[in-house]
């Protein structure tokens, strides 16, 4: 049952993408629904199996590693899978009206969207370094196609820059994989972990892979491509890019670091990674503070929030794992909501320059509400999911008496408050400003509702954290003490 469900979770969207290319006419809407909507139901079987057995191995084609490729579903990958399915389906509600399947734009959008979805599912399942490379390539290419799908010059330029950097990142990762294979003769992450000892070559290989993945996940100072790409892409695309696409490569770094190099002494490197995260938080927040376009503010906020995911490396405890995983979840929901809301405001007003948005809360109350709710989770106010994550980070730092990281998490919340209140202040605190009514374009309510559902989920994540946190603590990497 689990094997069948997992197979369909990857291949149903992929088949739907093929069908969407083959029959781009009036059936497209139904093809998309068939490719997306059964997925939450299909997720039930693997979820029950993981709750029961904790880790599920699936040898593809019946060949176990090292001969074949194995899928491995553990609590962390289950969380990623649920996150991807949930967020993609919710954003698809928005995309259903902003890229209508019966339109020309829709025909270009949906195949790439379905491929992106399927490839991220395949990525989080895979336990094979080369297979991870192929899935990551697929994720990147589909994402670049989606950035450029509206053919706006700014988006094309950003997409091209992303493409060039992502290709270099892929090559670095692939070089590392090649070196590892040369030494161990296997590509399975868990077999490699048993065989590999830190030495010149393994360390070089691991460093190459991690630097490649850091470029793909836009961690400071390798973030230069992200704001332009995320800020100029169409709304649903920005949302999935910030919510999932950059996260899957961070997920891969976690896998390599905590599972692949489990026995290594990485204290110095871990502190370095943490410092990169700290720099990302400070730089991203300050840059968000001086942007004058709403989507660019949200994009720089992503640069900052990705920094928290790097704090896992120096802290590396059960609490830190729960904190980072929960941050991944709540940031995904909140950021998707904020990008969708920003896109709605942009397409309604025609611009997202901040000084032109004064009073937009009267015209688009739902979107501004979604933006604010997402912001509440981002800056970590209770009772949001973001609060749970930041609280756990503080607790983790407290327990290890790592005062530097503690101050950083607290200061990061304040900086986030600064740039988010600046946005809300400009939008809401102009009682006498009236927007020119003629400029407004009506957009379907469903677009705002999708943003609102995501924002409310980000807040609600604060109330339902217990089962997720206990799930995460059931899937800790070897060596991390509870």
């Amino acid at each position: 049952m689990t094997a069948e469900a997992l197979a369909l979770i990857v291949f149903l969207p992929l088949l739907a993408a093929c069908a969407a290319v083959a029959f781009p006419g009036r059936w497209l809407g139904w093809i998309v629904r068939i490719g997306l909507l059964p997925l939450p139901v299909l997720m039930l079987a693997p979820t029950l199996a993981v709750l029961d057995q904790n880790v599920i191995h699936l040898a593809l084609a019946g060949h176990a590693s090292p001969l074949g490729i194995e899928w491995r579903l553990d609590p962390l990958s289950l969380l990623m899978l649920w996150l991807n399915v949930g967020i993609t389906v919710l954003i698809s509600l928005h995309a259903g009206v902003s890229f209508r399947p019966d339109s020309d734009r829709g025909q270009r959008f949906w195949p790439l969207w379905l491929i992106l979805f399927a490839s991220m599912n395949a990525l989080v399942l895979s336990a094979d370094l080369f297979n991870l490379y192929v899935t990551l390539e697929l994720v990147t290419l589909a994402a670049i196609g989606l950035i450029a799908v509206e053919s706006k010059p700014a988006a094309l330029r950003a997409g091209m820059r992303y493409l060039l950097l992502a290709l270099m990142a892929s090559l670095l990762y692939l070089l590392g994989v090649g070196l590892i294979y040369g030494q161990t003769g296997t590509l399975d992450l868990y077999l490699i972990a048993e065989q590999i000892e830190p030495g010149w070559l393994p360390v070089t290989a691991m460093a190459l892979m991690i630097v490649g993945l850091l470029i793909k996940s836009a961690v400071f100072p390798l973030h230069a491509w992200l704001p332009a790409a995320h800020g100029n892409a169409p709304g649903p695309v920005s949302a999935i890019l910030s919510a999932m696409v950059v996260k899957v490569s961070i997920y891969m770094i976690w896998r390599l670091w905590f599972w692949g190099a489990a026995g290594w002494d990485l204290a110095t490197a871990a502190n370095l990674m943490g410092l990169l995260g700290a720099a990302a938080i400070v730089y991203g927040s300050l840059a968000a503070l001086v942007q004058d376009r709403l989507k660019m503010i949200v994009a720089y906020s992503t640069v900052a929030q990705l920094g928290y995911l790097m704090l896992l490396f120096p802290l590396a405890s059960t609490l830190a794992f729960q904190a980072a995983s929960y941050h991944l979840l709540s940031h995904g929901l909140a950021k998707a909501a904020m990008f969708l809301a920003a896109a709605n405001i942009l397409s309604s007003v025609g611009t997202d320059r901040l000084q032109r948005l004064a009073g937009v809360d009267q015209r688009r109350p739902l979107d501004v509400f979604a933006l604010a709710l997402g912001g509440v989770s981002i800056l970590g106010l209770p009772p949001s999911g973001g609060f749970v994550a930041k609280w756990l980070f503080l607790e983790a730092a407290w327990h290890q008496q790592a005062w530097g990281w503690l101050v950083l998490v607290a200061a990061g919340g304040l900086l986030a408050a600064a740039y988010l209140f600046r946005v809300l202040g400009v939008i809401c605190l102009h009682p006498r400003k009236r927007l020119n009514r003629r400029q407004h374009r009506e957009i379907p309510n469903l677009a705002s509702v999708a943003a609102l559902i995501l924002a409310v989920s980000a807040i609600a994540a604060g109330f339902f954290s217990a089962p997720v946190l206990s799930l995460i603590s059931a899937g800790l990497p070897p060596g991390v003490t509870p």
Binding site: F11, A61, S65, G68, G145, A148, S151, Q183, G199, W200
Partner: protein, 313 residues
């Protein structure tokens, strides 16, 4: 001794060609150097005993990538009145640091590889041991379809995605001329095509069939077949169209869809996912992949969403 000299020549040639490709003053010369670099790389692969890779490198790395670059050059530079004649590569202050960094990296990897003992590859030995039970002489084909099928499946999806992304981009550039030669139809072109096209198809089918017991396979065969398509485009027999007809769409998707569907069937009777039900499935999927690879590459070269009969067709 001769072998050592040859290797040194190839290695020096690769470095020199790569340098020329990056630094040459005109873009056109850079492209030509890149193509020659690809061919030399194919020689290098042949020298290290990887004929499959050598063929793929020659057909895709040098041949079709070169054709794609030249057609891009033509559209970017020659067909644009407002563009400078040939801009050449942009100067970058990062060039020197990157070169030094890459050099150091190569040095570290080379030195540490020299001083570490290489273990025999577990995965490779497992493949050779397991292939004894299957009537498939070429271990590469075995790895691509039997043991690591999902990699191959996803790579075919990568090709499809590349086409879809290119189509998304091409949406903005309506009305670009096709790469068809503008000259009048000459009898020699027809005669040439009458000889070359059947031969190319023959070679690609041979490569496909040979893939089961000696070097070859769907990727090489597809690339060679795409070469025939490129020739037909250049001679005006076929041209880019706005949208793809049913036949082109089917060909485009044949490889991926048949791989997924055949890969899913074992689940119906409790077998493992992607366990191909026999050698016929290997041949079927390889053939479908060859068609898909060829059509995708031709579509990328044509720069449109589909194909139609050209003005000399």
């Amino acid at each position: 001794m001769i072998g050592f000299l040859l290797d040194g020549l190839i290695a020096a040639g690769l470095v020199g060609l790569a340098y020329q490709a990056v630094t040459s003053r005109s873009l056109f010369r850079g492209i030509i150097h890149f193509v020659v670099f690809g061919l030399t790389m194919a020689l290098a692969w042949a020298r290290v005993g990887a004929p499959d890779l050598a063929m793929a490198e020659a057909a895709i790395g040098a041949g079709l990538t070169g054709a794609l670059m030249l057609v891009a050059y033509r559209r970017l530079v020659e067909d644009r009145r407002d563009a400078p004649v040939d801009p050449g590569p942009a100067k970058s202050r990062l060039a020197l640091p990157i070169a030094i960094g890459s050099g150091l990296l190569v040095g570290v990897i080379g030195l540490s590889a020299l001083f570490s003992d290489v273990e025999p590859g577990q995965a490779g030995q497992a493949v050779l041991a397991d292939l004894q039970q299957v009537d498939l002489g070429n271990p590469i084909t075995g790895v691509l379809l039997l043991y690591r099928g999902i990699d191959t499946l996803l790579e075919v999806a990568v090709l499809l995605t590349a086409f879809l992304a290119a189509r998304a981009l091409a949406g903005s550039e309506s009305g670009t001329g096709s790469p068809t030669t503008q000259g009048p139809e000459t009898p020699m072109v027809g005669a040439l095509l009458a000889v070359v096209i059947p031969l190319t198809v023959l070679v690609s089918v041979h490569l496909l069939r040979a893939g089961s017991y000696e070097p070859g396979g769907a990727f090489q065969a597809g690339a060679v077949l795409a070469g025939a398509g490129v020739l037909l485009i250049l001679s005006g027999r076929i041209a880019a169209a706005e949208t793809a007809g049913l036949l082109v769409r089917m060909g485009l998707l044949a490889g991926l869809v048949s791989f997924i569907l055949i890969g899913l069937t074992p689940l119906l009777h409790g077998g493992p996912l992607l366990a191909l039900p026999g050698l016929w499935a290997v041949y079927f999927i390889e053939t479908a992949m060859m068609v898909s690879i060829a059509i995708t590459l031709v579509l990328l070269f044509a720069g449109g969403g589909g194909l139609k009969r050209g003005k000399h067709g």
